[in-house]
């Protein structure tokens, strides 16, 4: 449309005044005042605009520069060419072996992060000890020797090789002896290397030296049956087990294997068949095995021998010359009862002794022979090769050194400067050798004395093999490139002897190709590859023959009695009994923070050794727990804090060896005191008992215990029954004798939906031995921080799973009326008859979780799979959840354990952090954490099933704690599936839920503890 509307902006425009027309010719209607500004006071004003801008610019720039820190450079080199087998985010498993036990090593992006049992392993069928679990941490230990050293100075390998070769040549020329001192070697390849070395240098001798040896047993078998072997015991075939101080579930020969065997006669399956083995333990201090015994008789070291003689007499129906009562009426009565039971179970009986005395072991052989144990519970034809050390040869070696007969000595996996009972003598003698080479991966006590350090690989970096028991061959394959400039000991030996094969891998292949592969029906490259996948070869076992003992025992009995007399304490002296720490072993693991913080399964002490003493003695001597006493025995003395140990034999002290390392590394140095010098040599073997005097030093050294209240106060937290009762009514003692009560019937709460999965757990208290391997497995799986002694003492350990250990006192010898309340315990006089129960305790994943309702920010919530989740990022750290958790399983990050100088030595090392599981975040200071039911494993399992387009199989997902448990005490699975293992386990009459009366609906069901107590014992 045509329009002549005109818009205007002002009257000037409308009227088109001359000024307007004139002005509108220019871009700017009015001139800009530039001239005025430049010539005027604009620039010379006190703070002109430019100066202001300059100052501002400089200021901002300066502040920015000052605030700038160098951006940290993260050295992460992506794969330029991705190795075929490595997919970021997906774990690879390699079969290998740890101390002869087949394992699987979990690696992520080329770094081993966890060790898991190989389900086909003959020892524990997938179970793994705490030490094996912790071994992966040692790989990344920044305190390992990172280069070879000559006389304490770092050198290259070529230099070291030249030096050693030159010295070896000189020694060989002088005709002096060469000694290779190792802890027991059962690796076929290593033995072959040593044999070749001996061929090359004929003056060489190989000495097996075990700090804690089984010479007694080996020698006794040589004497009795002409076979110098360590037998393979079959605890699973034994209905009656009598142990004299052998801690066979933990530190004695093959603890994991024996645990599996032992539990197979005591677990749910066995109980369902109305079968349960009977276990009688005579011991001095309370051992892990003792805590599991059905009957435990406190016996002094000096009484052990006489007790064994009496047992022999009772079984054989004779009386050996010199036999006498032990001096303890209780022991004598118990021996008679044990004899009766053993005889009744002939062929299915087993007597073991922890003694290292040849005569004692000969007598044990005689007893076992009478009981028909050979060929059934004891197998001499497929012997164990785990320990071959001979004490006498090492003692002889030290005197050779002293005489100057030894020119060169090689130390492989041994540390005699620390653990030889006459360490000082050894140290002095070693100086007389021209060449001493230590293969130790740490600058340990012996390595420091050696002229050459040729640091060995960690086993996860090595090739190798093992043959821990006759017919069972396992392979060791590397799972990572060497972290430091180390070299495998065997490789070094091959180089030094100038062997044509210098590469140990080739050497191992050769060994396997020439015979070992064939034992498993394998051959060639294909056979080798199969081996690397399966990790083992199992040769058909030789039939175990029966052996009859036929020697005269008169002299043996005499020796035993003399031995007993030697350690009998008179007056105010005590009998000192030395034992191996279940956590840090013989001292080898001292620098491993996971193991140092693993509570001792009995005393729950971490980061220390101590003198265990009976409560009665402490009352008499007016000692309190933590009081430091100075113990004097065999010309050596140490100061150790006292621990009140229920069940400790009166008049005895027990001290663990393995502590008091001085050159283990920053973690293990000066933790506890060295007890090895208390050893003595008697009849050619090291003895672990001594007569000790002690006096109070007047000061205290508090112990860091994870549990300080030791009785369960008669609460239904622990439920138990005797085997006799169980046979009558399997539900006996579980609280469900009259049917299961539905605590949820009157609930105000709606049930959570669990449409597909309901993850729950069943824990069999009768299977759990309390060893604590699960604790370390959980540490490794879930990146649980180590907090150190002080923080444990302040009750702040971070373990997601713990083993609660409770004592009850059977003052009248009657387990049914066991005293478990603090106030009643205080009135007791007799602390000898103790029954113990271990209860693994972890987040119960309650369906009515008390923690969930109180969290103000919904940081802990329930999942649709029956789990109690923890959202670390949401947590503000009020700790209300932990307060309201009736199980007290929640753990708070009091400090930033991952970046705080006070916790430097534990898991913060430059390389140590590589051990962390990338599937689990580390938690920052101020947030709560707890067992997640290995949620990362559940997710991975579900994902795998989904990718493979199939339903998840029962048992496919295993919790870290469950997986490592040799006793199979833990079953995890889906409760929604009525056929799952866990559903079946929970359906047991023995099942009860801890604190179920609170109706928190715990997701973990426990099966009652059953004790195979014989009525007649009541009088014992």
């Amino acid at each position: 449309m045509d329009s002549n509307k005109k818009y205007w902006k002002g009257l000037e425009e409308l009227n088109r005044t001359p000024e307007f027309v004139e002005k509108n010719k220019n871009e700017f209607a009015e001139p800009l005042p530039i001239e005025e500004l430049l010539s005027g006071s604009g620039l010379s004003a006190p703070t002109p605009r430019r100066d202001f801008l300059k100052a501002l610019g400089f200021g901002v720039g300066a502040v920015t520069l000052a605030a700038c820190q160098k951006v940290p450079v993260h050295k992460s080199i992506p794969y330029l060419i991705k190795p075929e087998e490595v997919t970021p985010g997906v774990a690879n498993y390699y079969s290998s072996s740890y101390e002869g036990q087949a394992i699987l090593v979990k690696t992520r992006e080329g770094r081993p992060i966890k060790v898991e049992g190989n389900p086909n392993d003959v020892f524990s069928k997938g179970g793994l000890s705490a030490q094996a679990q912790a071994s992966v941490l040692d790989l990344y230990d920044v305190n390992r020797l990172q280069n070879p050293k000559i006389k304490g100075v770092e050198a290259g390998w070529e230099e070291a090789d030249a030096y050693v070769k030159k010295e070896l040549a000189a020694v060989a020329a002088s005709g002096k002896g060469i000694r290779i001192v190792t802890s027991t070697v059962h690796s076929p390849s290593t033995l072959a290397v040593i044999a070749e070395f001996i061929t090359k240098y004929p003056t060489t001798k190989h000495i097996n030296y075990d700090a804690v040896s089984y010479t007694g047993i080996i020698q006794a078998n040589q004497n009795s049956f002409g076979k110098a072997v360590l037998p393979h015991y079959n605890f699973d075939k034994a209905d009656v087990i009598v142990s004299f101080g052998a801690d066979f579930l933990s530190t004695w020969i093959s603890g994991e294997e024996f645990t599996r065997q032992y539990v197979s006669n005591r677990n749910s399956k066995s109980l369902a068949n109305k079968k349960m083995s009977r276990h009688i333990q005579f011991e001095t201090g309370m051992s892990l095995t003792g805590t599991n015994a059905d009957a435990r008789i406190t016996t002094k070291p000096s009484e052990m021998g006489a007790a064994l003689i009496n047992l022999y007499n009772a079984i054989a129906g004779t009386t050996l010359a010199g036999s006498k009562a032990t001096g303890s009426k209780k022991v004598d009565t118990a021996i008679m009862l044990a004899a009766k039971e053993l005889v009744a179970a002939k062929g299915k009986a087993l007597v073991v002794s922890g003694s290292n005395d040849v005569a004692t072991q000969v007598l044990v052989n005689a007893i076992n022979s009478l009981l028909g144990s050979y060929g059934t519970t004891i197998d001499l034809d497929n012997p164990s090769k785990q320990y071959a050390g001979n004490d006498a040869t090492f003692v002889e070696f030290v005197s050779e050194l002293n005489r100057g007969d030894v020119g060169a000595v090689f130390f492989l996996n041994v540390n005699p400067a620390y653990d030889y009972y006459k360490g000082a003598e050894f140290t002095a003698a070693l100086k007389k050798a021209r060449l001493s080479v230590s293969f130790a991966d740490h600058a340990d006590e012996t390595a420091l004395l050696s002229s050459v350090n040729a640091p060995n690989h960690h086993y996860l970096e090595s090739w190798g093999d093992a043959n821990a028991v006759e017919g069972y061959y396992t392979v060791i394959q590397p799972t990572i490139n060497p972290v430091y400039s180390t070299r495998q000991a065997e490789h070094s030996l091959l180089v030094w002897m100038e062997n044509p094969i210098k590469d140990y891998y080739t050497y191992v292949r050769k060994t396997w190709d020439s015979g070992l592969l064939a034992k498993g029906g394998l051959a060639g490259q294909k056979g080798w590859e199969t081996l690397l996948q399966t990790g083992m070869v199992i040769a058909a076992p030789v039939a175990a023959a029966s052996y009859t003992f036929s020697l005269d025992l008169a002299g043996v009995a005499q020796k035993i009695l003399t031995q007993g007399k030697a350690v009998a304490a008179n007056g105010d002296k005590f009998e000192l009994s030395l034992y191996v720490s279940p956590a840090i072993g013989d001292g080898r693991f001292a620098n491993n923070p996971w193991l140092q913080e693993l509570p001792d399964p009995v005393s729950k002490v971490t980061w220390d050794n101590f003198a265990a003493m009976s409560i009665s003695d402490m009352k008499k001597l007016k000692l309190e727990e933590g009081d430091v006493i100075k113990i004097d025995a065999n010309g050596y003395s140490v100061e150790l804090p006292v621990l009140a140990q229920p069940g400790q034999t009166q008049g005895t002290l027990s001290v663990a060896v393995g502590y008091g390392r001085t050159n283990a590394g920053p973690v293990g140095n000066n933790v506890g005191k060295n007890a090895y010098p208390f050893f003595s040599l008697s009849n050619g073997t090291f003895q672990t008992a001594a007569v000790a005097s002690f006096k109070s030093s007047g000061y205290k050294s508090p112990l860091a215990q994870t549990q300080t209240h030791h009785s369960y106060e008669g609460r239904s937290v622990i439920r138990e029954a005797t085997f006799v009762e169980y046979k009558k009514n399997p539900a006996k003692g579980s609280g469900n004798e009259h049917g299961r009560k539905d605590y949820n019937a009157e609930s105000l709460w709606d049930n959570h939906d669990r449409p597909v999965y309901d993850w729950v757990m069943a824990i069999d208290l009768n299977a759990c031995t309390g060893c604590g391997a699960c604790v370390v497995a959980c540490n490794a799986e879930n990146n649980i921080p180590v907090v150190g002694k002080e923080e444990v003492a302040r009750r702040r350990e971070m373990h997601w799973i713990r083993i609660d250990r409770y004592y009850a006192y059977n003052d009248h010898g009657d387990a049914e009326e066991a005293v478990s309340k603090e106030k009643e315990i205080d009135k007791l006089d007799n602390f000898d008859n103790v029954s113990v129960v271990h209860q693994p305790m972890l987040c119960q994943h309650c369906d009515h979780a008390p923690c969930e309702t109180v969290c103000p920010v919904l940081a802990t919530v329930h999942s649709s799979e029956g789990l109690n989740h923890m959202a670390y990022n949401r947590c503000v750290g009020t700790r209300y959840c932990a307060n309201n958790c009736p199980f007290k399983v929640r753990r708070f990050n009091w400090f930033n354990y991952w970046n705080d100088a006070r916790f430097d030595n534990y898991l913060q090392g430059e390389h140590t952090q590589l051990v962390l599981n990338p599937d689990v975040v580390t938690r920052f200071r101020g947030v709560m954490e707890k067992c997640s039911m290995c949620i990362q494993r559940i997710q991975a399992g579900k994902l795998k099933a989904k990718i493979e387009k199939r339903p998840l199989k029962d048992g496919e997902i295993k919790m870290a704690c469950q997986q490592t448990c040799s006793a199979n005490a833990i079953v995890f699975g889906n409760r929604n599936d009525p056929n799952s293992e866990v559903s079946k386990a929970l359906a047991s009459e023995r099942t009860y839920y801890v604190l179920e009366e609170l109706n928190v609906q715990p997701g973990i069901g426990y099966q009652t503890k059953i004790r195979n107590i014989v009525e007649t014992e009541a009088q014992a």
């Binding site: 549990q707 300080t708 209240h709 009785s711 369960y712 106060e713 008669g714 609460r715 937290v717 923080e791 302040r794 009750r795 702040r796 350990e797 713990r802 609660d804 250990r805 409770y806 209860q839 305790m841 008390p850 309702t853 109180v854 969290c855 103000p856 920010v857 919904l858 949401r874 947590c875 503000v876 750290g877 009020t878 700790r879 209300y880 932990a882 307060n883 309201n884 009736p886 199980f887 007290k888 929640r890 753990r891 708070f892 990050n893 009091w894 400090f895 930033n896 705080d900 920052f924 200071r925 101020g926 947030v927 709560m928 801890v994 604190l995 609170l998 928190v1000």
Partner: protein, 490 residues
């Protein structure tokens, strides 16, 4: 308010001769309008040293982590929540005095309500610092507020008593602050009118343009009444909710339905004790004997005795119910309080809260100023122990004996607590320097009806029954601020 004459037998609320409105203003504003004296400086120095200790200890905690406190895996709360509940409890007296007593027309509250309310506000601030400090990640404290966020429906947990706490405490603080400030307006205006220069400007802003017109006064009265109405339920609700932190949990010793009334009584108990502690000093130092009289002191002592007895009954009820429940955990929790490793804490609590307040049955004791002051401190100590007993002795031995543990405080725990007292006194001492510590306007209301001089005038004018007058004179004997000789003559 009441302009008619009051019954002679009621004790006077203002004592002294020749009290005029001007004199009241002069007396009350003396500390505000003059330089502080030596006593104040000493007190302030000590208090601010305490506050500095608090700053140091809290910074230490934030820098190194909560591990610097003595808490452990079993005892997750100890001195922190003890301190929190203690401070919140102390605050309650202020609200009770200002709101409940106003509604009940208890005119004697007029001379103490200002300080008591100030005490409330400072105590709640101290309590709030504990809420932030006890968190593992206080920088994430915002998560406890129901703010819209980028996480979709991620909200706070309305089931959690800690969330109720957040609302209870913040409501309490804001209402108390408004109530206190509203009451301050006429008094600030008074200061403004007497001040010069910058002071005048500041007080002028602070007085919100108070004019003193009839309409202003009328609205003031209405607002006061409404706020009193709003605050009154808070007196009950805040500590009820605080008690629910414990009562709704599962812990033996916490899971108790008696907690709400018991906590409220305890709060008033401790609050009055704290008011007593503060005012007995302030009265002397600031020369307010005529406005805060023996009548006030005795009345507060009576309330302390009453609430102390209620608390005592609650303690005994708890014991009885624990026994009667036949619940082994509950029974053990209480047996453990009485005779466990923390028996001394339980018996300190019993002695300080139940036994010593009973001394106030004796008139001699409840009208004795030094003794009243000492006993008020004893009650404060006892109430601290009460919270310690409830929190620590319940937690340290609960269901699973393996986890039983002891709690030992570290120097940081102790410093934070002592420091919080320093913070409180710093704020209180600053308060009496800048704001009138007695509600002048409200006290003036009483001058014509309830003061000693007005009653004396009544007697002199012969409007009083002689027997009643005698009774009245007898009741004056306890007053330290009354010149007894005047009545002897008569």
């Amino acid at each position: 308010m009441a302009s008619h004459s009051e019954s002679i037998i009621r004790e006077p609320l203002i004592t002294g001769k020749d009290i005029t409105y001007a004199k009241i203003t002069n007396d009350v504003l003396r500390p505000v309008e003059n330089m502080p004296g030596k006593a104040w400086w000493i007190g302030f120095s000590v208090a601010s040293l305490g506050a500095l200790l608090w700053v140091f200890a809290i910074s230490w905690t934030f820098w190194f982590g909560l591990g610097e406190w003595g808490l452990n895996k079993t005892v997750g709360w100890a001195w922190d929540i003890t301190g929190f509940v203690w401070w919140v409890g102390i605050g309650h007296a202020g609200t009770l005095i200002s709101a409940v007593l106003l509604l009940f027309r208890q005119n004697w509250r007029n001379s103490i309500n200002r300080s008591a309310e100030a005490m409330t506000i400072f105590a709640v601030i101290c309590a709030a610092t504990y809420i932030a400090a006890h968190m593992g990640r206080p920088w994430m404290a915002v998560y406890s507020l129901p703010l819209p966020n980028q996480y979709g429906s991620l909200w706070v947990n309305w089931n959690s008593p800690l969330i109720w706490d957040v609302f209870a405490i913040s409501t309490y603080f804001s209402v108390s602050l408004v109530f206190w400030y509203t009451g301050l307006l006429p008094d600030i205006a008074t200061i403004r009118d007497r001040a010069q220069g910058l002071r005048r400007k500041i007080y002028s802003v602070l007085s919100f343009g108070w004019t003193g017109s009839v309409k202003t006064w009328q609205r003031f009265e209405t607002v006061s009444l409404i706020l009193a109405g709003v605050s009154t339920p808070l007196v009950l609700s805040v500590h009820t909710i605080v008690s629910m932190d414990f009562a709704t949990s599962l812990e033996p010793g916490w899971h108790t339905t008696i907690f709400p009334p018991y906590f409220v009584a305890g709060a008033i108990f401790s609050g009055f004790a704290m008011v007593q502690t503060l005012l007995l000093i302030a009265r002397k130092v600031l020369g307010l004997e005529n406005y805060i009289t023996m009548f006030h002191i005795e009345s507060m002592n009576k309330i302390i005795m009453l609430t102390g007895s209620i608390v005592g009954v609650a303690y005994l009820t708890e014991l009885f119910i624990a026994f009667y429940s036949q619940n082994e955990y509950e029974q053990y929790a209480f047996a453990n309080r009485i005779s466990g490793p923390y028996w001394w804490a339980y018996w300190s609590m019993m002695t300080c809260n139940v036994i010593t307040p009973q001394l106030f049955w004796f008139k001699k004791i409840r009208t004795n100023i030094p003794l009243s002051w000492v006993l008020s401190i004893v009650v404060n100590i006892g109430m601290w122990f009460e919270r310690f007993v409830i929190i620590v002795t319940s937690l340290h031995r609960d269901f699973i004996p393996s986890s039983w543990a002891m709690f030992y405080p570290t120097w940081v725990d102790v410093s934070v607590f002592i420091g919080s007292i320093g913070v409180f006194f710093t704020m209180f001492l600053l308060f009496i320097r800048v704001l009138p510590s007695v509600a002048m306007a409200e006290v003036k209301l009483l001058l014509k009806s309830s003061s000693e001089q007005s009653k004396k005038k009544l007697m002199e004018e012969g409007h009083v029954v002689p027997a009643e007058a005698e009774f009245y004179i007898a009741s004056l004997e306890k007053f330290d601020s009354v010149d007894q000789s005047e009545y002897l003559k008569a």
